[in-house]
């Protein structure tokens, strides 16, 4: 299968006064199209940092990142915005919906920046909301929705632009286990449709939905396991 994501020796360091914080220390990984990857690891191990780089929200200190074969480092700010708009969908732990804005309008946002005409935009937004089971809440304001519903709107927003890759940083981090399960069902559905998903989580039962689990420690990948029917395989397994 074709590679959607290919990271080569990615490092990211922050200078904090005199100290140099190395958040990522040589990440190399590939993600195939249609895969569902969970990233686990202790707090501070660099998961979010890696997701931000994958999401073109941040740039690595060194190393190279190819998204669908395109080297992202070479792109201008405008081109990066376009990549985020067309190829990526980001789901945050804190939902990050716009307040005083309806669910539908939130979902339409990426389509607005893509220049999609109004009617088509409405249709696509409603289709995406349908997909996450929230079509009936389309005209509700984001602050009138429960946490689980908000996260589903956020997933619909990530979906609306037909991205090749969905990135979710602790999408269930703010939700109870029952709601988490509902959200994971949505991700399962997306996975079934062939969308590539990379998701950070701390919870084993959430990660259990993924087909492949990467474990981070101190800015490095220490294990990479793939689920095969009934069990896990791969180097560094527990």
């Amino acid at each position: 299968m074709a590679c959607v994501v290919s990271l080569r020796d990615i490092t990211k360091s922050y200078r904090m006064g005199q100290e140099l914080v190395e958040a990522l220390r040589g990440i190399t990984m590939e993600v195939e199209a249609g895969d569902f990857v969970a990233i686990m690891g202790s707090s501070g191990s660099g998961k979010s940092t890696c997701m931000h780089i994958l999401g073109c929200l941040d740039t690595p200190t060194t190393g190279s990142y190819a998204l669908e074969g395109v080297n992202v480092e070479r792109l201008s700010k405008n081109q990066l915005a376009e990549v985020r708009n067309k190829k990526l969908g980001f789901v945050f732990q804190g939902f990050n919906l716009l307040t005083r804005t309806t669910a539908r309008e939130n979902v339409e946002l990426p389509l607005i920046y893509a220049g999609v005409p109004t009617r088509e935009r409405h249709q696509k937004a409603l289709a995406a909301l349908e997909m996450v089971g929230l079509a009936r809440r389309a005209e509700h304001y984001s602050n009138q929705l429960s946490g689980g519903q908000q996260q589903r709107v956020a997933i619909a927003r990530a979906l609306a632009g037909d991205p090749t890759l969905i990135l979710a940083d602790e999408p269930t981090g703010n939700l109870d286990s029952k709601t988490s399960e509902e959200i994971m069902e949505v991700f399962e559905k997306l996975h079934a449709q062939g969308i590539t998903i990379i998701m950070v989580t701390h919870e084993a039962d959430v990660a259990a939905h993924a087909r492949r689990v990467l474990t981070f420690k101190d800015g490095q990948i220490i294990s990479d396991r793939r689920r095969q029917d009934g069990g896990w395989a791969g180097p560094g397994g527990q």
């Binding site: 405008n78 376009e82 990426p110």
Partner: protein, 408 residues
């Protein structure tokens, strides 16, 4: 479409903080309002002067008697007529820059027609007066040289006099009695409105200077005139005409070390032109002072926009994460700033016009609001929005997506 959406977002953002938006606009409202009022006052003043110049006639010099000294006794200016018919003729023939000279005597008298009577000003003059003052006839005929030479009892009525004595009736050909002397009305003058001094120029009767002196006003000093209006050939030679007339009159009146100048020459056109200039300068100055408040208002906009950008850093981050380009963010915040100033500008314009109207009603000061002033105020307020909104908008657009998202 992009602009339309930016407008929608901006309107929503402004509506969220209604009070803040209003207070921010207040600076622009006051600024634009003040500029409009000041410009209206200035423009009104200079229009009044321009109208006066037009109603007075162009390129005019006025010669009136000055103080005369006779045997060590100095009389006050104007009490003794010192200008003679010979002076008039001499100026006419010897000053090349002078187009024509109109001698005049003035007084007042009661006019009676039927059972109506009216106290008005009598102006004795020659046909030149109408030409010099560019005064047209509304009905009947003008004064002729024969009227003057033969001292005929013909007269021209000013519009106000005609109105007061005759009402709707046609005065031409009717007989009026001035100081009990019967006069034939041969014509009615066109209305001129107010004079530079603010009195009614149409409240007068014109008659041949000869008739006025002999029959109505009397003339204890034979061969003199009350004053003369001199018209120069053109604007370019106006100053030269002034010199020529002064030189000639000085010579004729033997003005020298032992004799004071016994006449006063005023350049009417220059006086009005100068006052018009100063009205324009004043208008500019007032406008400049008022625009300081506009600048202060603009700084207020900038301040609030910066606060708004900081407050909405997270929103900016979300928009960028979803694919907003720098241009989109810039446009969004710029639209918001321009919308603020445009709203403020329009409200300020309305208040400014109301203020100008009130001033002209209460203080009886003429004001004038031209369409250009409105357009300029509109563009200016939009310009203030762009100018003071640009920096905050650019600050927003230049944010790093990840920094903006992480902002608490």
């Amino acid at each position: 479409m992009e602009l339309f959406l930016a407008l929608k977002i901006a309107l929503r953002a402004l509506a969220v903080n209604k009070m803040r938006s209003f207070l921010t606009m207040l600076g622009i409202i006051i600024g634009i309002g003040a500029v409009i009022v000041m410009i209206a006052i200035g423009a009104g003043a200079s229009k009044v002067i321009a109208d006066q110049i037009a109603s007075m006639g162009s390129n005019l010099l006025l010669v009136v008697p000055g103080s005369a000294t006779a045997g060590g006794l100095r009389s006050g200016a104007g009490t003794v007529p010192t200008i003679t018919y010979d002076d008039v003729k001499a100026i006419q023939t010897e000053c090349p820059s002078v187009e024509r000279v109109a001698p005049t005597v003035r007084g007042s008298a009661q006019v009676v027609y039927g059972n109506m009577n009216w106290w008005t000003q009598i102006q004795g003059c020659t046909p030149e007066m109408l030409q010099v003052r560019e005064w047209k006839i509304a009905a009947g005929r003008e004064m002729t040289a024969t009227d003057v030479e033969s001292a005929l009892k013909n007269c021209l009525l000013g519009a106000s006099v005609a109105e007061n004595l005759f009402g709707a009736e046609d005065p031409v050909g009717k007989i009026v009695r001035i100081k009990k002397v019967p006069f034939t009305v041969v014509g009615v003058l066109e209305s001129k409105g107010q004079s530079p001094r603010g009195d009614d120029q149409d409240d007068l009767i014109m008659m041949p200077i000869t008739t006025a002196q002999r029959k109505i006003l009397g003339n204890p000093f034979p061969n003199t005139v009350g004053a003369m209006l001199i018209q120069a050939k053109s604007e370019e030679v106006l100053a030269q005409a002034e010199e020529e007339v002064t030189a000639l009159l000085d010579q004729r009146h033997r003005v020298g070390p032992n004799k004071e100048r016994d006449y006063i020459l005023r350049n009417l056109t220059e006086i009005l032109a100068v006052s018009q200039q100063s009205a324009q300068v004043m208008s500019l100055l007032l406008g400049a002072v008022a625009s300081i408040s506009l600048v202060v208002g603009g700084i207020g906009i900038m301040n609030i926009m910066l606060v708004s950008v900081t407050e909405r850093t997270r929103e900016i981050g979300i928009r960028m994460a979803i694919g907003a380009k720098q241009r989109n963010i810039l446009l969004q915040f710029l639209t918001e700033a321009v919308l603020l100033t445009l709203f403020g500008g329009v409200i300020g314009m309305v208040l400014g016009m109301a203020g100008a109207f009130t001033i002209s009603k209460l203080l009886d000061w003429p004001t004038l609001i031209s369409p250009q002033a409105i357009l300029a105020a509109f563009l200016f307020s939009a310009g203030v929005g762009v100018f003071f909104g640009f920096y905050p908008a650019r600050t927003a657009a230049r944010l790093n997506p990840i920094d903006a998202l992480r902002y608490e």
